[in-house]
Subunit: 433 residues, 2 copies
Amino acid sequence: MSSESKLKFGRDVISVEDARTRLYPHAAKMAIEYVPLTQAFGRRLAVDVYADHPVPHFRRSGVDGYAVRTADIRHAAPESPVSLEVIERIPSGTMPKLTVGAGQAARIMTGAPVPDGADCVVMLEMTDSLQDAGAGAVGGADAAGSGAGTNVSIKKNLPTGSNITPIAGEITAGELLLPRGSLLGPGEAAILATFGYSEVPVSRKPNVAIFSTGSELLNVADALAPGRIRNSNSYMLAAQVEAAGGVPHIWPALPDDANQVQEALKRALTAADLVITSGGVSVGDYDVLVEVFGQWDGRLLFNKVAMRPGTPTSAALWQDKLLLALSGNPGASYVGFELFAKPLLKAMLGCAEPCAQTVSAYLDADYGKASAYPRYVRGTMRIREGQLWVKPAGIDKSSVMVSIKDADCLIRLPAGGQGFQRGELVKIDLVHS
Amino acid sequence: MSSESKLKFGRDVISVEDARTRLYPHAAKMAIEYVPLTQAFGRRLAVDVYADHPVPHFRRSGVDGYAVRTADIRHAAPESPVSLEVIERIPSGTMPKLTVGAGQAARIMTGAPVPDGADCVVMLEMTDSLQDAGAGAVGGADAAGSGAGTNVSIKKNLPTGSNITPIAGEITAGELLLPRGSLLGPGEAAILATFGYSEVPVSRKPNVAIFSTGSELLNVADALAPGRIRNSNSYMLAAQVEAAGGVPHIWPALPDDANQVQEALKRALTAADLVITSGGVSVGDYDVLVEVFGQWDGRLLFNKVAMRPGTPTSAALWQDKLLLALSGNPGASYVGFELFAKPLLKAMLGCAEPCAQTVSAYLDADYGKASAYPRYVRGTMRIREGQLWVKPAGIDKSSVMVSIKDADCLIRLPAGGQGFQRGELVKIDLVHS
């Protein structure tokens, strides 16, 4: 058997998990770069972020009202209000100057520091500002009536600590807030702003070179020609790369000549952090990557994976750079990217658990096709009455491109058996996790 | 009652749904702009995209093998193979020159056009190339043995149409492929590439001006000071704006002076497509937006919504531009954005159904707090054995910022009642939908 025939027909098949295990050690960690916080959304954190101060760092009032001593209001009620002397008003951002003593209160705003002496804050709605009660003021709302030197009538008894967030009530100093690899969304942005990260250490985005193979491929701007199709895989993969946090670079489609292909791939492997190809890995006469791998002067990591679609998915190493060669059908390319390239990119960006989240769901349609290898069927989820149902997205054939947009998960159907019935629990990988 | 007091205490409360109904008519539709396909990922389509040709536009082979007439192979089997004359080889992208007649076959590659006369394609693995069988070739894999003028031995009977995708088998000409407002991801990119969209008509991104209020606010780069905190809401909202498809612009925090505030807001309303503020809408003495709305020379749409957190959420119109004033606590700002600003931005970008998807889930914790208004609790989902469970994300107090990052849904708890028990079915809004 020739070396090329061996590569086409004598391949050793390995599991998806084993294939990942062979890839991950070669996931190059990206360098740190600092970007302004407003440009960091959607990026991944390059370091662990710890709290350098507690939150709040002062006893914080949760409401607008009066800071008082609970001992003073123990018998307060609407029909027996307690009158207290207002000694100060404390806007947010202002430190109290005075200590609240017996029979005293301080007017305080939401978010302001609670003065010493006070151990609860009574909401404005449960108070009356005394001086202005006869002058038509509404509750404590009239600004003129709530300053120092006036009195306030408290109409409710509250327990100690009411409406006060203690120091470190939200976050303790030294606490791990965001682990390295965290995707920066709104909640993370709030934390980073709170802790002064005007510049954020994020991982550099991996540059990913994308190739398609196939002499049938036209450029997107080309007019349609008989027997030919426009190159859609490169753009689909580019969108997948971007969603996974990388920078896609679409290279010209690969020619049919093995030497030229090898040269183009090595140029890309030199320039990029990862190279992804689609097509050319199967058993056809024009599957040029098979020929290239037959004479590859780097390491071949695998060239057959126990999965459908995408059985001939291959990976090779050249000077520490990874080349991931996906099967060429649109569905196979899509699935291959999600199973191998996305976790790889997330690992390069520092994620500790880069694989998609796997959960179980009820199958919402019979699925007749048994398979010698585990199947990864593009699926669409639906939640009904607290139950998660999943069914194949549109027509599930690896060549079908139109239904890729409807996939939000991959249904993992084990090998063998007689197919699957509606209502069975199956495992699914969440594509957007 | 003074006008300001009325705005603080005499507000008319409306439902979340009514508030949305008052906002949507003022969602300005964004203009169309054309961007290269590789820059269109994550954008929203400004037009409906229809198929201008069928897919495939020729009878397409799904495998590498031989295109044959089923009538010729009706009795083919491993022990009684049928020998056919190979008249041509058809790489992908090449139109067949000959018609397959009785007793004939054409060598064909995956994705290539099936020649006239042939009505099925036999996979290479089920064939033997005859000439080279004695010379150690493996199956039909040897390139030299599969050209024209040779013979092929077919070892399997297949039904008509096998391994052929008919014209329009995936997509019919004239079919609606992607409606206006579609978010462009990998599947959409593949469709746009297939139909020649090298430039994509997308909606211009809405510019959103973001303000925070509060004299306690420091800039992110500032050192912490007693009683003061760094402005985190503006950055959280900026990340939410970006995730919703807008361009965030963080303006300097608003001062305490109502006239200056009004002036800054009008400058922003002139410059941006939407203005969002956080804070200053409540009953505190320093809630400056209440004062501003008291003298507003545009329309006030609402200033109290039956919801927790965020009851004082307000909205106003000025010269056809919307100003959305969110409650200032981090949790209230977050929820207010998700309930009002995100659907508004999606509507501006052409989405027909801009609201988050609402589904039902099982409550995974008791929730004791009853409420006079419906509650929108930031929740974290978990799928267990096909069931969707949800629980409040971390500490659910509107002032707590650290748990916002853990929210992937809003749990909608209706008003009244005695709280909610673990195991109850509740409605949730999916934040990422």
